[in-house]
Symmetry: C2
Subunit: 434 residues, 2 copies
Amino acid sequence: MDLDTAVADQRELVTTLFDQLRRDGLDEPGVTRDPYGSGEQRAHDTVTAIAQRLGLRIEHDAAANLYMTLPGRDPTAKRVIVGSHLDSVPHGGNFDGAAGVVAGLAAVAALQRLGVTLACDLTVMGIRAEESIWFQVSYIGSRGALGMLPDGALDVRRIDTGRTLADHIADCGGDPGALRAGRRFLEPAQLQAYIELHIEQAPSLVAAGRPIAICTGIPGNFRYPDARIEGSHDHVGLPRRFRRDAAMAGAEFAMALDGLWQEYDAKGVPMACTIGRSHTDAASHGLTIVPGAFNFSLDVRAYDEAVLAALDRRVDAIIGGIEQRRGVRFHCGTKARAAVGQVDQTIKLALENGAARLGIPVLQLGSPASHDAAAFAAAGVPIGMIFIRNENGSHNPHEAMEIDDFMAGMSLLTWYLMQQSSTHPQSSTHPQSS
Amino acid sequence: MDLDTAVADQRELVTTLFDQLRRDGLDEPGVTRDPYGSGEQRAHDTVTAIAQRLGLRIEHDAAANLYMTLPGRDPTAKRVIVGSHLDSVPHGGNFDGAAGVVAGLAAVAALQRLGVTLACDLTVMGIRAEESIWFQVSYIGSRGALGMLPDGALDVRRIDTGRTLADHIADCGGDPGALRAGRRFLEPAQLQAYIELHIEQAPSLVAAGRPIAICTGIPGNFRYPDARIEGSHDHVGLPRRFRRDAAMAGAEFAMALDGLWQEYDAKGVPMACTIGRSHTDAASHGLTIVPGAFNFSLDVRAYDEAVLAALDRRVDAIIGGIEQRRGVRFHCGTKARAAVGQVDQTIKLALENGAARLGIPVLQLGSPASHDAAAFAAAGVPIGMIFIRNENGSHNPHEAMEIDDFMAGMSLLTWYLMQQSSTHPQSSTHPQSS
């Protein structure tokens, strides 16, 4: 039995599981797996049933995350976690999140088919509540598992039900009290690696014509959620040299950031900047009024803390120049920051080697989006991610992943697990010799 | 008696009249002379009382405009009208509009003091309802006088009272039925000139350190009151090359127009462009969403129809380029146009000559704003305008005109009337020989 055959044998498991998950979450158009609600719970139940059929050990933590463990030779060895989240946005796609859990279970089944026993425990993790749209808090499940939930998170309310996160967690058998006390289920020092397979949320793989990508990093960011430019409201006939047009200052700011991005693109340094919200004041704007106020939000993200720091300085310089040239004043308001999620270079290299061995063409890709893996990285756990080609983006019912591409990613995941979890990397578990 | 003395003798009349008008309209902060309402009516009553004291003939038309006539030697000769409006915006300044009527009455008094009888009738006109904020229709009084009110105008409602223009006109003794029938009080072919003195609504005279300006033209414009850019709503992590960011397209559009304006400024061709309203959609925008829609308004104005037409083509070309580069689509919606208000070159030259004779330093200035004079120009009446230096713009309580500057403008107006209305320009009415 070789790896290819063992993986191919899981195709039916994979398609059956995705189909069942789609039926569980169906909420036309698309699927809704509301976190700590019935949608997400049905996915947990379906996944648990498969894990039980595979003979895995089932556990839950205080955040009601699901752990499905295939024991290794040494129960005291640092374990590997393969996971992703099982919730979705409202009317989202079937693959965002769930693909990572399905891949973990299919990899377990392939390992079993190969008769391989890993050196350490392998845990497939079904993570709760990753989508921040519901509670406006990100990484609830993964940060809960790691004892890193932010202050006050348990008291926030789900935007649709109005009930607190604590109540929702209790509904699903969790223990909000333990979370409040900061107790953690996962001890970062005892984790060898956290590996997440996820659909790509941008069309880079589609454009490159490759089935999978190896993640080079998860972006950190700085954000101004609520910035404002103050100029002067004036008569439409005011000559240009007298104007202090706040919206024109906003336009210059946007174009300067776009130019900055083009400059970094040309250097091959990945980043992104987004002015998601921008507007003159509804109460004072009009066809014949030079706008004296302009509001905007800003998200600047990059994969390297030094790049982020440089961008931060550049943004400040751009603002200073515009203030001087246009006689306006920027009030940037609260500044939020998120650290870069560093990918473990050893894991990344192992995944690259694996793809080369398996003959899978891969792309090196900075994650366009945030993922639970970033919470593990923040806790000091070595992380790696595999992205699967996906048309039409995510967070919508039109996401479209080909099962062939998924199987390629799952195959690489299985190969990686065999390599990294074996005490003897060149032993009989090597696919070429099995 | 020379012109200087005759004009100087009117200083008390002028200050008394402005003070009374301020008291009539007082509505802290500033003054409110609501058109076809009690604020405007009090101004009409005050002005009428002064006109009666000066022995002028008082008339009203169907739009309740006020005509105060000083008879000339030949009642069949084409008459000259000196006028402006007596309404104001809510909490506006005391001089916007009223200064032109006060100047006309003071010029009449100066002519009487000089013992000059003009060749033709001179009518000082107190015009109704120029400020479009109240009925959202511009030039109601002047266009009513000329039989050029737009269709449906009589049925629009004042934004504060909710009552129709027709009802408001009837309240003030006007005849909405006659207006509806298109009857006109003023016959353009029988008017020699319409002269309007008005405060400047921008700080060009303040910046230039000159008391008055001779108007070189009233701008025409083209407008997109409600335009929209359509792109694609996407995830904040989407790489630049895949984005169809509607707001970024809007920023590029704004900056391109700003560049166009700088180009015209450098050539010395006056114009203005204003994006008064611009915004992403409140329902779909957010910190982590690439905006797929952006709405804006546009006003482009210039003083020459050929310049306007060229700007129109340039705007189209800018839009085409952005659509191609950014994968977005502009939906410009309704396009509104207003013709350029051409200043009569003979009148303009006469005013320039007069200023030179009187030793008043003047600026040549395109009107930043629209004025009743534009309605007269549209009807084919030769027009001229004199702007008075004014700090702090208009349409606000802080407008600040110095009486010395006003007296300089009024002096030029008086000189002009003596010249233009005399059948013998070099006769005894010439200031130098009187």
